[in-house]
Symmetry: C2
Subunit: 219 residues, 2 copies
DNA sequence: GACATTAATGTCAGCCACTGACAGTTGACA
DNA sequence: TGTCAACTGTCAGTGGCTGACATTAATGTC
């Protein structure tokens, strides 16, 4: 809300500020170690040592090693959901999804820069996509996100998400496309926000044509 | 190939037969324990003890605890891929996918019954869908499958999967729908093959309409 | 049928992620 | 300033997983 405060909400007391600082440091240290030497090769003890806290303290901030790897991702997702909640009601569902993704990419610097440089986050994202254990976690998280998006869309359209499968189906398809784009990006060598934004955009353009019965006479 | 032999390929020597038996027993014991008392609550030592081998031996058959939970699933997937490879070339991509899934469900008893009762596998599937750690693994496996299916479809249609995003996009959407169906099934109380077959069928029917711009005036 | 070869298994020691319990320290607030 | 509550460190322990080495058992050969 107020851009003068570091980030997030209140942060009033000294205690809260200290906590926030520890958390941020842990995230930054973790991402730096992960991207430098790999996720598996980095132990939790190392991360804790880099911030000069005990291993036990690490696990009080993050319920497991994976979680710290997704801390920034989570902020981006929150931003996406926020955008989606504010799309005009007359926008078509798929259009609303697309616009929200684009807006989230455009505002990424503002969302996360107080904690980690965007460039580090991008490298971290690439690392996630190339580490089996993290791919798995990433998928599960996407699944939870899907659920939330589906409910949001259903409400927007005045449907019951539990009875009408269309919201889930659309979100499932949307998510599949997003994953495909993320994967393609991470395998390329352009590790920039601009390039993934571009890729997402063009992949989403294919969601209609890809479902057509006939691919052979189209190009 | 030859239905008189237990399953899979050769199995000639006594050694190979013994190995197969140990593997099958581990799978059965694991699924029984998992479904009875939960995945997390079951230790690898317990599974090994139930088959009377050492824990170390368990890890020589399965590279981790998750893997044994998906051993049967893997056979079903193999069956699906086999179906897909044999669909007529003039069938539209989405139709080929749908037919293959249906065929895989129809032939599931024949595929797995030599190892575990279908009913146990169904309960195991439900357990997977309600265990966070396994959901994650499930997602990752789906991802790998997606890759394979996309390449298969691309070849079928004479496209280059690395240059044309349509195969990936379609498979992403398809997979999303399949997951949504699996999830809905696992949350219901009809734990039968027939019911998931039915559900899959009807969810796939929605893949077209769900992408339409307007949901409100359709029903 | 005895013998060397090779695969499968068991045992043991050890790493790492993660947790519960308890004690010590340090902000918050009257 | 003293009390309370939150935060942290230490320690001991569990469970997943691995490498190294010794043991056992199937196989192919003479």
């Amino acid at each position: 809300m107020d851009p003068s405060t570091p980030h997030e909400a209140a942060l009033c007391g000294l205690r809260a500020r200290k906590k926030q600082r520890t958390r941020d440091s842990l995230i930054r240290a973790a991402l730096e170690l992960f991207t430098a030497q790999g996720y598996e090769a980095t132990t939790v003890d190392e991360i804790a040592a880099a911030v000069d806290v005990s291993q036990r303290t690490f696990f009080r901030y993050f319920s497991n090693k994976e979680e710290v790897a997704f801390a920034v991702q989570e902020m981006v997702e929150a931003r996406f959901l926020e955008e989606l909640r504010h799309r005009p009601a007359d926008e078509a569902p798929l259009t609303a999804l697309r616009s929200s993704v684009m807006a989230a990419w455009d505002g990424i610097a503002a969302s996360i820069e107080p904690i980690v440089p965007v460039e580090l986050h991008m490298r971290a994202y690439q690392m996630i996509e190339s580490t089996p254990a993290l791919i798995a976690a990433h998928m599960r998280r996407s699944c939870d996100l899907e659920e939330e998006i589906a409910r949001l869309l259903a409400r927007r359209e005045g449907l019951d998400a539990d009875r009408d499968p269309r919201p889930r189906v659309l979100v499932g398809a949307f998510n599949g496309v997003m994953r495909a784009a993320g994967k393609a990006w991470s395998e390329g060598d352009e590790v920039t926000v601009a390039s993934i934004r571009e890729l997402t955009h063009s992949y989403l353009d294919h969601i209609g044509p890809a479902l057509d019965d006939n691919w052979r006479e189209e190009r």
